[in-house]
Symmetry: C2
Subunit: 196 residues, 2 copies
Amino acid sequence: MVADALSPVSTLCLAILYRGDRTGYEIKKESVEGDYSYFVDASYGSIYPALARLAGDGYVTVREELQSGRPSRKIYAITDAGRAILVEALSLPPSPDVFRSRFLLVAKFALELPVSVVESAVAERRRELVAELDHLRAMCPDEPGTAGAWITGYGVACLSASLAYLDAHSERLVAMAGRPVEGAANRPVPVPDAAE
Amino acid sequence: MVADALSPVSTLCLAILYRGDRTGYEIKKESVEGDYSYFVDASYGSIYPALARLAGDGYVTVREELQSGRPSRKIYAITDAGRAILVEALSLPPSPDVFRSRFLLVAKFALELPVSVVESAVAERRRELVAELDHLRAMCPDEPGTAGAWITGYGVACLSASLAYLDAHSERLVAMAGRPVEGAANRPVPVPDAAE
DNA sequence: TGATCCATGTAAGCCGTTACATGATTGG
DNA sequence: CCAATCATGTAACGGCTTACATGGATCA
């Protein structure tokens, strides 16, 4: 019975449709611009097939709206079964949150990289953080006290902390750059065991 | 010439080998336990093939060590070409950092989910954060002032901020649970346009 | 005695991205 | 006039995970 865990993209579609009817195109936009981007960042190539499957399984319905001069829109709406399976899916033990950072790998190799590389990596990371913060702050039309405001607050808290750390310590990192430790590169190293 | 960007797993292998010779098995361990887990979390199924390809391309060398009673270990060592391409790869404009959270989706649907689900999602997320923080703090054998200490500091800053937010606001979130707004579920919604 | 660690690898399959195909309308 | 927006889809390809296959040694 339990359709055994929806794929992330299907979950995303149902979550967005839960709040109102949408076309595939609009779901894509909302997944990127709205506050769903922290969940998955889906592309058309995964959204359209997912919607087709959801429709086949009866979790959403489609209604086609003809338009002059434009391809007809397919407007999807969630069904009771869809709402039920979404709640079920969200009730399963959650997979852990994931944080993946190319930037931190660059930071880890600060000594071995040219100063310019470390500098621009820091600058780029900073730009990203500021942009995300602005985005978050700009988009919360939710009255305070709602779930939307809660998750926005969470995001702001994390991003602000990153930004603060970066601003406080980036100079120190840049100062390390371009000074590979003599011979430390690949000294036959006392074999990993010795590390313990 | 530019072997055009290494795959994440290849980059990981070279990064770890840069610090010393390792077997595939050890690389896996280090990618999970060491401070590389923020970068990618690779499995054997991706590490072994990656090492084979790196060896074929001359970025690493292999030396086989026979052992009695155990399968022989293949010890990989990075070459000059390997070091060069790693630096080159890390010098390319970095792809943006990624944060993916199932937990935040649950939080967004707090109203629509049973109290118990929200409660345990919060508890689970908290447990994860504490574990990661302990892990980070426990493992920094690096003297302060090193790149390793820098990235550990970054991680601690982010995780602490998340934890602080959670501790300060989780009760409010749980209090929202199980009270779906009347009819707000799928009211035909004023069509997304109206939101602008 | 049974689980866990060491140790290497392969094969199937999933899930998703990128690029392609098409094309009118609107805004700068 | 050019770019972006609206709008739907397919096909090829890529990368990673899961499960399988094997098996002695060590520890509880």
